[in-house]
Symmetry: C2
Subunit: 242 residues, 2 copies
Amino acid sequence: MNRASYRTIGRLTHYWRALRDLEAEGQTYAYSHLLAAKAQVTAAQVRRDIMVLGYSGTPARGYEVRRLVECIEAYVFPSSEQRAAIAGMGNIGLALLKFFTGRRPNLHVTASFEADPEKFDRLIYGCRCYSIDSAGEVIRREGISVGILAVPDAEAQYVADVFVAAGIRGILNFARTPLEVPAGVYVENIDLAMSLDRVAFFARQSLKTERAVLPAGTPLDKASAGGTPSDEAPSANKESES
Amino acid sequence: MNRASYRTIGRLTHYWRALRDLEAEGQTYAYSHLLAAKAQVTAAQVRRDIMVLGYSGTPARGYEVRRLVECIEAYVFPSSEQRAAIAGMGNIGLALLKFFTGRRPNLHVTASFEADPEKFDRLIYGCRCYSIDSAGEVIRREGISVGILAVPDAEAQYVADVFVAAGIRGILNFARTPLEVPAGVYVENIDLAMSLDRVAFFARQSLKTERAVLPAGTPLDKASAGGTPSDEAPSANKESES
DNA sequence: TTCGCATTGTGATTTGTTTCACATGGAATG
DNA sequence: CATTCCATGTGAAACAAATCACAATGCGAA
Ligand SMILES: NC(=O)c1ccc[n+]([C@@H]2O[C@H](COP(=O)([O-])OP(=O)(O)OC[C@H]3O[C@@H](n4cnc5c(N)ncnc54)[C@H](O)[C@@H]3O)[C@@H](O)[C@H]2O)c1
Ligand SMILES: NC(=O)c1ccc[n+]([C@@H]2O[C@H](COP(=O)([O-])OP(=O)(O)OC[C@H]3O[C@@H](n4cnc5c(N)ncnc54)[C@H](O)[C@@H]3O)[C@@H](O)[C@H]2O)c1
């Protein structure tokens, strides 16, 4: 039972969602196959990931849905109130706040920070907006451990420094600035411009190889394995190889 | 000069951004070291990535900034107009449309699709909003090859099917539904809820190990390598090992 | 009760990616 | 002109992650 990797943590949340659905349907047991299909990975991958939980299913029955849900929750979700803050109430900042509000039982966005005085002291989706200048104080007072960065690129490092100095240990960064943070602070970068570039790139490639390989407008056959769960190599799968 | 991997494409866009900055500063040459520092990767990684471009720098001078910029553009960016569409003009859909508009020379969001009749036929950020029912027709007519999915989870597969049937070959998917698409269609999933869970997880872990390892409120030292460029293992780096 | 079978858990293997390490070579210096 | 320095390009090694393959297991049918 060794430590879970970055990717395993991500997949566990996918299994969790699938299991919740199964539970809602009244299923009490599930095989690795089924979870694999729902999360678009292999069955072996599912079993490996579940190993880190220390929970075992039984052959012939598979995994007990309720128990597995509980194990994943105990492993990846906070067991007691954990707080987050968002800096930058612009386009994505607002969308994220709205989206994340009330989504996880023990994970709450309890503060937002702005540089624009227009927005100070207002309640946005039930969450108080403070001046970025008081961020250190608020973060410490409320015990916030997670920070979401939705400020302009040029401000990102500055706000990250404020966050880290105040005790934040995990940052979800939407700015396209690679952040410098002390060892031990976890940063996950989400670079949407890059993602779009990449999708456009592989879309072009797909068009190119299609034209090169197929005689005419051959219809694409529905071979489920085509997609590319974020974080993997593109489906360079040869198409309809018949 | 073998094919570029998913991750190489992503990093190339980072080098590109760094190079543009250098160019703006008047630099005409750059070493792999420098690019590595700016993109938070190793110098060897930079050289490896650049290999796929077929461009060579010179020892003692490094890479010619202008030429390298051009090579990256020629390799990863569209050489002629490429079009994209967004489905779902809700929270993120709107933020994305605004953000992506006019950002890349040859990549344009030229249409958006909605199910809500309130939004039909309006111009949003200069982009026409159509009924999802006419998506097939519009996509074919305009030659759109990239689709962005910002619709509710339950609608994602349906819209993806419409997209694919109309000829879209790359999808940026914000819904948390794993999509089934034919082989050859590239899908990049962005699961923000998962990312937040993960950041929260590693933030908790960081707090835990800190408490376990450090005697008291030892200050974190600014060791630049601490962060975690998305897509990698968390900085399980031992902290201040003195 | 026994057998057959489908499924789990995991060692071994493969696959893919990053890093190392060094031969190569251009530029500057004396 | 020779020598020194440093950075590049790349084969080889190291590493990480996913997959394979199979022994172990327990259920249900006979
Ligand atoms: N909107 C998108 O879809 C999108 C997509 C990809 C990346 N991004 C990135 O996200 C970041 C924000 O994007 P946006 O579109 O929401 O921008 P935006 O301009 O709409 O919002 C930025 C907000 O941050 C506030 N702000 C500025 N400096 C601040 C500071 N020091 N402290 C606190 N708040 C501060 C501004 O007042 C503004 O409200 C940018 O780095 C951008 O590159 C946005
Ligand atoms: N908002 C966020 O920050 C955020 C974060 C993570 C994930 N997501 C995901 O993104 C998706 C959309 O989120 P949102 O917050 O923008 O939701 P939203 O409800 O604000 O927007 C969805 C939009 O899609 C439209 N729509 C519904 N069915 C459609 C169809 N068949 N064709 C075209 N348009 C249709 C709706 O009219 C609505 O305008 C969801 O899957 C959500 O899980 C959103």
